[in-house]
Symmetry: C2
């Protein structure tokens, strides 16, 4: 143990190593306030230091857990007493913002919101955005193929990565830092590392695509009386607002009721509609965008699609709309799920899940909302009781999901928490191939051990 | 040989097998009219037949070359006398068009244009589009990660694939036919098969993303007097027309002169400007799109960015603009290149390449055009002489490209023709990892042998 600490200190310096009491002051993760347990935590300041640390650990059969912003929700960053933690927190430099190529080059530890803020004065946008923006890192976004609220328009993280530098467990630095959108030169190796949750390599530097910052934004909350109308409205707006529709978030009634109760968020619309959606469009035609948005919603109202609507007339009113979707503390504690399934099956799934939970686990029920245009639902199951109840809820929820061809993880990944359900979506042959890829890239199984598969 | 033919015939039936004289009637590829040489050509009609063929070949150490539309330009589909050809031409069914999920499920042998035509009456668009649309197949588009003219707005093929079914060389069927945009369940194995040019598995079925068919389209050809102005105009329109700008094609002067000479295409604009661009926007606001497009180009003209412009007022006029870009026969024969590099270096590269070719290979010169917003240039080098001259031109072109951080293949892939240049863009460590992946998926090196790397 002493040898490990002194060797690692040699690699990263005194200020780059955290152990003992200082380490115990850190929480295990955002969701788990227990003190972090690990042999040590190292904070490399460069790709070379990451490489040296991994090579040392590889040579000494030392397991490594990689940490970004700690806000992942599948326990991917939680270390055990046997692990060394590699935290990318000191690799937080935005190296270059190129407004001709529309590319930013960043170190993996850059916090997403810091990148957003650096781009804004230049009229540029990095469109990945999610609730954890203030803590999550761009490297973590790559490792987990993050999704979030703008996938509808800009795609997931995979679609936004142009160049990538990764360090393999044996210390090899694989660098493919090309800023071009098109680069069909052999196998696109970076795809292996996007979304594989740090089990195949440690992301150190990234080139991401930038877009022009929209100059107009329209936001509305809309109430509807059936899920068929929700789907019809979505399809209609995907046409009419194509290229500018940036969010279409849906909340089922009990979600909306739950967050707008007495003393909670102010409800922008009455609380008794079956469905609510938040619609946002971001455009570049300030002179016409607002009027057109309003006209399209009016048409939908006149056609009986929409029961009621409020269009935000100020940033303040926009916040009032979004807080209902983004701050769901009034509902917690609950078991959180993140699934995807065909849009046309979503409401049938929600109804059947509600029936099954109530009948099989008396008093248990789901609260449903999500990014439906991406096929993505988030579900809270309540009440929050204990592990046994949690597992029973998992069983009902995923079994019902399987009937509708759903996926057990839309954007959160597998981590440790969802391993048991991976085989619902991936065949034995697929799992075998995943293991074979792991074997090629980390034959000693030292990197983020036990993530994705045991 | 006889055993091979009779065994394969048993797997696919008489009508599924082509050999001897019938085989020799087929050309080697679109670009090579020599008779096809191969032991046999099989035309499986189902995934099960593909699996049975590959398993048989695997068990008998028989090399296999996979064929789609034969229009690839790096000799990826050209078989040798020792190979069995697997042609996907009978797997040409569009299985489902789902206008709620906006997903089409197709067999790999569906011709791209047939998919376009099936979608149009439903108001849907599959946005991948390229010159070979009438012959290339969706499976080939996946295998090569095809690009084309709409990448600027919709991304490359990788970005359009939701679900994928692949048969491995040993006959294993890997099926991940999920229609959801978000599906972070373990490693995203389909990414391995997209763009790996059929060397890791045979694509059999695909679920692709669909988009609403735009209801308005504006097309213009614009002349500019410097490349700086081309870049400025591109950046400006990427903002002003964001979400609707679908093409921004650039032609250097000698390209434009070359295709609009005496007896060739009619020049939409005078022939003496240094740069020409074709700009296209596809929108959904018929009432306003045309006027706005015209206003934005007028502004660019008034600001001195644009020297001259013509906006197409009819489909006929639009064709007159596009034919200049799409039908470049007047320039041929020539050596064709497909490279990518940072936009800001493109003109310096073009100028330096022109100087070097003229001085090092007397009388040799480049003709440059391309999808510059994607970082992609196509280059013809003339005159067309012989292999020795071709190789000398390769040397000058790629050496000069390396100085500017360019990629030897933007969208065409590596195939057989570009293998020698792959190491310019990929490190020894990257090439080693590619070989290791090949080893995992095709340990006997039977599938599309010699493609990507020897």
């Amino acid at each position: 143990m002493h040898a490990l600490i002194s060797e690692l200190t040699e690699l990263v310096g005194e200020s780059g190593l955290v152990s003992d009491a200082a380490l115990a002051e850190r929480a295990t993760s955002y969701w788990n306030s227990d003190p972090t347990t690990a042999r040590a935590l190292v904070k490399p300041a460069s790709t070379q230091e990451v490489s040296a640390i991994l090579k040392y650990c590889h040579d000494h059969d030392q397991t490594v857990v990689v940490q970004g912003g700690l806000t992942g929700v599948v326990a991917g960053c939680e270390a055990s007493e046997a692990d060394v933690i590699v935290s990318l927190e000191r690799m937080n430099q935005i190296e270059e913002i190129d407004d001709i190529e529309n590319v930013a080059t960043v170190q993996a530890g850059v916090i997403l919101q810091n990148l957003h803020e650096a781009l804004e004065p230049k009229g540029l946008l990095f469109p990945l955005d999610l609730g954890a923006r203030g803590s999550c890192t761009v490297g973590g976004n790559v490792a987990t193929n993050a999704g979030g609220i703008n996938v509808l328009r800009y795609g997931m993280m995979r679609n936004l990565v142009l160049g990538l530098e990764v360090v393999l467990m044996d210390g090899t630095v694989l660098s493919s830092m090309y800023p071009m959108l098109k680069n069909n030169t052999g196998y696109d190796l970076k795809q292996l590392f996007i979304g594989s949750e740090g089990t195949l390599g440690v992301v150190t530097r990234i080139m991401v695509r930038l877009f022009p910052q929209p100059t107009s934004r329209q936001s509305a909350m809309v109430a509807l009386d059936s899920f068929d109308k929700v789907m019809t409205l979505l399809n209609r707006l995907q046409g009419e607002l194509a290229g500018t529709l940036s969010a279409f978030e849906v909340m089922w009634q009990n979600y909306y009721e739950g967050v707008t109760g007495e003393g909670q968020h102010r409800p922008p619309l009455a609380r008794d509609y079956p469905f609510y959606t938040i619609i946002e469009a971001e455009g570049f035609d300030e002179a016409n965008d607002a009027a057109r948005f309003e006209r399209l919603l009016e048409n939908a109202f006149e056609d009986g699609l929409v029961s009621d609507a409020v269009i935000a007339q100020s940033e303040r009113e926009r916040q009032d709309v979004w807080i209902v979707r983004e701050e769901f503390d009034p509902i917690l504690p609950a078991y959180l799920y993140d699934v995807s399934l065909p849009i046309k099956h979503m409401n049938d799934y929600a109804v059947e899940l509600d029936q099954r939970l109530r009948s099989e686990l008396a008093g248990t029920y789901p609260v449903v909302f999500g990014h439906i245009a991406d096929g993505n639902l988030h579900i809270f199951v309540l009440p929050y009781k204990n592990d046994e109840h949690h597992h029973a809820a998992d069983q009902v929820l995923y079994e019902t999901l399987a009937k509708y061809g759903g996926s057990v993880s839309a954007e959160h990944g597998i981590g440790i928490e969802k391993r048991a359900w991976l085989s619902m979506n991936r065949s034995e042959d697929e799992l075998m191939l995943m293991r074979n890829l792991k074997q090629v890239l980390d034959p000693k199984h030292l990197l983020n051990p036990g993530r994705v598969f045991a």
